[in-house]
């Protein structure tokens, strides 16, 4: 029997997801035994025509990482969807928009201005040159893909079957996912292929958490040295652990926690949480300055929340494009 075909492809990403596949180390040889890797992340673009020529559904599983930033990204995602039985959204950018998704606080014009305009201190560009989709050089024409205003997650442009979360996904999860999907015993569509727990559920620092958590002041790691054993929230340091799915390490605490740094939520929400920002606000409202109080006025909550620097950029660090906010409001002209 022919081996099932597996593809890996990247959209707008940093290469970390490719590294995460390479970090399978010898396991990659097991994968190579089980399947026919028809595309390696690097090998995708130049086989564009080969993909087109394939039968629909010829690829058993496609793992697609990276956010959707350009039209080219979107076209490739659509094509792979048609050719694949199963599409797995691989990594935080594909899953939720990821760090490039923070670009949705802005738009093409402001991004160009900071890179090529006067707000870049090292630029010498009196003629205001910006990269163009088509430009003329003495020898002929050169083209570039269009830069979109809005970053999207993969499931905002195609139907996605499963999600492998994380920036980047841990190799053990990738290996488990491949074995699971090849076994034919498929999980329910839309399943996130990682443990159904939150980071807090497994955290060894839980033991240090008082029964009733109450904090008076938000602290920043810039000016505080985190205690290596205490729960970060207990210390007043914002940690996304309560609203983040566990899975970032096979054993022990989360990987950032093990470096004595708070979680930033790259694995996305655990089951039952729709929007991490609103959930985090309510989680914080329930512990901030609450000693003895059952109810707080809206204003008092607001005052405490104001202590949190950059709540939107912290709570939606990896998920702005899929959050309730999605992006900054744009006028008709800007769109």
């Amino acid at each position: 029997m022919a081996k099932p075909k597996v593809a890996f492809y990247w959209c707008a990403s940093c290469g970390g997801c490719e590294e995460a596949i390479v970090d399978l180390n010898e396991d990659i040889l097991k994968v190579a035994d089980l399947v026919n890797i028809v595309f390696w992340p690097c090998a995708m673009d130049f086989k564009y025509d080969d993909v087109r020529k394939m039968e629909d559904g010829e690829i058993t599983v496609s793992f697609i990482n990276g956010a959707i930033r350009t039209e080219e990204n979107e076209e490739m995602a659509v094509l792979l969807r048609r050719k694949s039985q199963i599409v797995v959204s691989f990594g935080a950018c594909s899953h939720m928009g990821g760090i490039p998704g923070l670009g949705n606080f802005w738009d093409k014009k402001s991004i160009f201005e900071s890179s090529y305009g006067k707000s870049c201190p090292s630029i010498d560009n009196p003629d205001g040159i910006v990269p163009l989709v088509s430009s003329q050089v003495p020898e002929g024409e050169l083209t570039l893909p269009e830069f979109n205003n809005t970053v999207k997650s993969l499931d905002q442009v195609i139907e996605v079957d499963y999600y492998l979360p994380g920036c980047s996904p841990e190799p053990y999860l990738t290996m488990n996912a491949i074995l699971k999907l090849l076994s034919g015993d498929l999980p329910a569509k839309g399943t996130v292929l990682a443990p159904a727990k939150s980071l807090c559920d497994i955290c060894s620092r839980n033991e240090t958490k008082p029964e009733k958590l109450s904090i008076e002041k938000i602290k920043r790691v810039a000016t505080t040295q985190p205690d290596p054993e205490k729960c970060f929230l207990t210390q007043g340091i914002i940690c996304m652990g309560p609203v983040t799915r566990f899975g970032c390490k096979e054993e022990g605490d989360g990987r950032c926690i093990s470096a004595n740094m708070p979680c930033r939520g790259c694995y996305g929400p655990p089951p039952g949480v729709k929007d991490v920002g609103t959930k985090m606000v309510s989680a914080l409202a329930s512990i901030l300055g609450l000693d003895g109080e059952e109810e707080m006025s809206e204003k008092a909550v607001q005052n405490l929340m104001d202590q949190i620097p950059d709540p939107a950029g912290t709570f939606y660090r990896f998920s702005l494009p899929t959050s309730m906010l999605r992006r900054k409001r744009m006028t008709k002209e800007e769109n």
Partner: protein
Amino acid sequence: MVKKITIDPITRLEGHGKIEIFLDENGNATNAYLQVPELKGFEQFCLGRPVEELPRITPRICGVCPTTHHMAATKAVDAVYNVIPTETAVKVRRVIYDAFMMEDHLLHFFFLGGPDFVVGPDAAPGERNILGVVGKVGVEIGKKVIDMRRRLRSIITTLGGRVIHPVCGLPGGVSKGITEEQRKEFLQIAKDSVEFAKFTLKVFEDIVLKNKTYVDLIVGDIYKHKTYYMGMVDENNHPDFYDGKIRVVDPDGVEIAKFAPKDYLDHIVERVEPWSYMKFPYLKKVGWKGFVDGKDSGVYRVAPLARLNVADGMSTPLAQAEFEKMFSILGGKPAHNTLAFHWARLIEVMFAAEHLVTLLEDKTITSTDIRRLPTDTPNEGVGIVEAPRGTLIHHYKTDEKGMVTGVNLIVATVGNSAAMSMSIAKAAQNLIKNGVVNDSILNMVEMAFRPYDPCLACATHSLPGKMPLMVNVYDKDKNKIKTITRD
């Protein structure tokens, strides 16, 4: 008949890359352009973030060299808060950084750039990869390479929390120190890495330097550009990856500038071309004369050979011996031979390995004095490190609460952007004649940019370890007349 050859993707330079080669009516290459068709906009979307978060955000510029961005960002945040990290913290950061430089450089030599030499520039494409290297040097050695890299990466995982996007850097120090047990374990890895560096240089000696064809290629004119060079040095003008002053030498090797990171704007300016999202930096005081080399052109180069060209020597003994040997074979310093970047990279591996041993033999590294908390009002700061692929600059401004109001990044690969385009054009002009374009010739063109950019590794250092490549040859009406695919 005007033809255009498209190489897309050449693979990635902190993203995707594309080469366009133009031919004249006789089928001779007239010019070539290296285009980067991607932009993410970090300078803009970091605005409004708390500045201490930038060491956690900016590594996502590149998942292969996240450690270098983490370190440049951490140093920039030190500067923003005007805090000097404790001695122990600096040592811990340096341990991470040496381990990183080695694993990244080794990856490039064995998996990416090396195959051109170890297997041979005109070997069958299917062999010009890591498996071909393993075939040549033996499976046991192949395993040794993978194992060395894994052990070096484990140091970063332990101290940084994670090897892809580490998180431990904080203004004034680090979040976590080194235990005595870890020190001993890491020291063994460091000592083994010195042996491994010796072995790697021996492979280079046996396979490359003892082969006259390769040596001719290295010293020949096709892969040569007389440019300025830039790199960071310590107080003895020896290369320092983590800290120091930026030294610039002219094409004759004469120092023309030596500046502190905060003064980079007095020396570097960037130019915008409409055909690429990547900018083109050049030396401010020399000026932009186009994509040309020579003393009148402000084009400079960064990365391993540039770092050795600006240095008076190496601060460790074995690396010093290799340094002397290389420049003696290349006919003195500075060496303008682009292919010698591969060689210089291995000398840097030796330097990092020896340096790591010294760091870890020092028992005070396990001190718990890992952080000096900032007390000043945050304002503005520049952090510079030497990334594997060159001088990397992070420059941040904040309000009085430490919220980011300005970000400027000059990424290492960008430092070589003009030179890479020139190198490809020169190789194409020399190699593509009378319309003859075949796989071997195209690989020789690719060999002109590979020495600069181990970031290409992020696409190709994996087991297949090859350069994916499609070349389309178009006639003047844009009809595709020929396709060459290599995989």
